[in-house]
């Protein structure tokens, strides 16, 4: 088990450092709060409106797009480095991979994932007004089925 000792030591040191920093700043730093210091930091610009409690759901869609392409890069990079060895086979494989990946981008585009205007109705609402509380297998009550606006207005909650 000796080989794990450095790991353990490192872990202990890490925790100690964090604790020390917190304690030290509490003890040593003078506390003179002002309004400016207390407010949220937004690139040096004074805030105009109250901070939204929730992000528009669009943020997540864009974030997912980022992750998608991040993953693609993760695969593309090693391929690019090893391109000489992989040759034509690698190129074909990567093209197919990228093609399928591209499809997901097109899908998001087609479903209006990147339409960043004012909130609009989803193309296919998850819940239609004709649906009653009784048309599912369980009697689900009214949860989530009240009005179509609630589902569609998420983006305007901001």
């Amino acid at each position: 088990m000796e080989q794990y000792l450095p790991v353990l030591t490192l872990g202990v040191l890490g925790v100690l450092f964090v604790l020390l920093s917190i304690v030290a700043s509490r003890l040593l730093a003078p506390e003179r709060a002002t309004v400016a210091k207390r407010s949220a930091y937004e690139c040096g610009v004074t805030e105009q409106v109250a901070i939204p409690e929730r992000f528009p759901v669009k943020f997540y869609l864009v974030a997912m797009l980022f992750i998608m392409f991040d993953i693609e890069i993760v695969f593309l990079y090693p391929w690019a480095v090893a391109n000489d060895e992989l040759g034509l086979f690698g190129l074909v494989a990567m093209t197919i991979f990228a093609g399928i990946f591209f499809l997901s981008f097109v899908y998001e585009l087609a479903k209006g994932g990147l339409n960043w205007g004012p909130g609009r109705q989803l193309i296919t609402p998850a819940t239609s007004p004709e649906r009653t509380t009784t048309s599912t297998i369980r009697k689900v009550g009214l949860e989530g089925r009240i009005e179509i606006e609630t589902a569609a207005d998420d983006s305007e909650a901001a």
Binding site: A82, E85, L86, F89, I100, L103, V106, Y107, A110, I123, T124, P125, A126, T127, S128, E130, R131, T134, S135, T136, I137, R138, K139, V140, E143, G144, R145, A151
Partner: protein, 496 residues
């Protein structure tokens, strides 16, 4: 570094990969069609998905007729009789689930193309799982089948229950994956290889290593979550109840079967030398799962929840042969494969009836089944067949599955195996007590509110019902049909 640079193109056997590629192509096709035609293509989606599954079945059949074992990627991916039998089972169960989904998804006005794409993707993961013979490919297949399933469980996105179902399933699933991955890293660290064969050799010689035991246990526990074995079952009832009913059927049958397939490969091949760890673990887990699943099922009033707990208990029955994995390997594999095949049809059938009845009663409460025999005798008889099969009463199919368990246990012999046999026997009786509640409600009680309007059946539900009834009865009267598949599976599963 030298080894990496000397890249040679891996030999791809296109015939062997045809099922996976077909499935992938159809999943993509559905998305493309949806992108191009949008709402106008909705009607075509289930048809397309169904054709996709049947088209995938074709190469599976040609591969089976061809009969040669094919190995790819350094033994990580194998096409043999065992994998082909299970691929076919997954595809057919998937087809029945799609038949069940058609009207549910359409009437509910849910997203359609995404639903079927995800369903096909999940099935792709299962189809891959049956061929995986290596820790990495098992893990990839597992994630591929699980992640779409998390989303499917939350498909009734307006309902809080369904969201709860999806979230619980997701969190528990991810947790299980993490535990499993940790176990895999330990095992890899000891064995120096991810291939099952190499792992078996290395682990067998490390009798006293606590790390080896830990690694094996973590991997098994990870899969115990997947197959909802007690005490790792807590997600199952909430998820099953909240998820859309066809998805519940899918999870209860296909997803569970996939977990079992991975367990078969792990227990009978990779951990073959470690019966000191594996056998007691499964003895305990199987006994607990059967007993607790059954006891809790006794108290349920909602039929989906009841079927969920019954599914937990049935999973326990399937785990029984693992407890004699080393003493009677051939019989045990056979028992699990046969059980999975029969279970798939009888359970899907039961869910189909639940769906059909819910179209009229709009309820999943067992009380709402009163008088079913009066106003829908066909459905009542069908449900009776499925419940009798689940309870293991001949001539409906399930008896042969239970019989397989007893056969494996007695072939192994010894006090522990016989003890587990008695636990199975007692549980069979407990299980019937709650199946009888449904039977009693259907046959003995009048319809609630005297509402005796008939149940309107749709074509796809009828087809699903016909398929499951025929399979369930055929397996019961001519068990040789399913027994044959069990037998060929054993040869290839243990031969490899």
């Amino acid at each position: 570094m030298e080894a990496l640079l000397a890249f040679s193109r891996p030999a791809l056997d296109w015939h062997a990969l045809a099922p996976e590629l077909t499935l992938l192509a159809f999943g993509t096709l559905i998305t493309v069609v949806d992108i191009i035609w949008d709402d106008r293509s909705k009607q075509a989606m289930p048809t397309l998905a169904g054709i996709g599954l049947l088209a995938t079945l074709l190469p599976v059949i040609t591969l089976a007729l061809d009969g040669t074992d094919r190995t790819m990627f350094g033994g990580a991916y194998v096409i043999d009789d065992f994998s082909l039998v299970l691929k076919a089972l997954f595809l057919i169960s998937g087809y029945v689930v799609i038949l069940m989904s058609v009207d549910y998804i359409r009437d509910g006005d849910y997203y359609e193309n995404e639903y079927y794409t995800l369903m096909l993707t999940s099935l792709l993961g299962m189809v891959m799982m049956s061929s995986s013979r290596d820790l990495i490919s098992v893990f990839v297949a597992l994630e591929l089948l699980s992640i779409p399933a998390y989303m499917l469980a939350a498909w009734r996105k307006g309902g809080a229950r369904s969201n709860e179902a999806g979230l619980k399933y997701y969190l528990m699933g991810v947790f299980a994956s993490a535990v499993m991955l940790y176990g895999m890293s330990l095992v890899y660290g000891l064995a120096g290889s991810t291939a099952f064969g190499a792992i078996a050799e290395e682990l067998g010689s490390l009798d006293s290593s606590p790390v080896a035991i830990l690694g094996i246990l973590f991997i098994l526990i990870g899969f115990a979550f997947k197959v909802s074995a007690v005490p790792f079952h807590t997600w199952a009832p909430d998820t099953y109840e909240g998820a859309p009913t066809p998805v519940t059927a899918f999870l209860a049958v296909a997803s569970k079967t996939a977990g079992m397939v991975a367990l078969i490969q792990l227990v009978f091949v990779a951990f073959a030398g470690r019966d000191d760890v594996v056998q007691p673990f499964f003895w305990l887990i199987a006994a607990l799962t059967m007993t607790i699943g059954n006891l809790i099922a006794l108290r349920q009033t909602n039929i989906v929840r009841l079927l969920a707990y019954s599914g937990v208990a049935q999973g326990g029955f399937m785990l029984v042969p693992f407890a004699v994995a080393a003493d009677a390997p051939a019989r045990a594999v056979e028992a699990v494969v046969i059980y999975m095949a029969i279970y798939a049809f009888m359970n899907l059938g039961a869910f189909t009836v639940v769906l059909a009845v819910a179209r009229k009663t709009r309820s999943g409460e067992i009380d709402s089944y009163g008088g079913l025999f009066q106003y829908a005798p066909g459905l009542a008889v069908a449900m009776t067949i499925f419940l009798a099969a689940l309870a293991g009463i001949p001539p409906a199919g399930g008896w042969f599955a239970k019989f397989g368990l007893f056969r494996a246990l007695l072939d192994a012999g010894g006090g522990w195996a016989a003890g587990l046999g008695v636990v199975v026997a007692v549980n069979t009786v407990i299980a019937f007590a709650y199946y009888a509640r449904i039977l009693g409600q259907m046959w003995f009680q009048p319809a609630p509110d005297g509402d005796e309007r008939p149940v309107v059946m749709t074509g796809s539900l009828k087809a699903a019902l016909a398929m499951t009834i025929i399979a369930t009865m055929a397996f019961g009267i001519l068990p040789g049909l399913v027994g044959h598949f069990g037998e060929v599976s054993v040869l290839s599963a243990l031969g490899g």
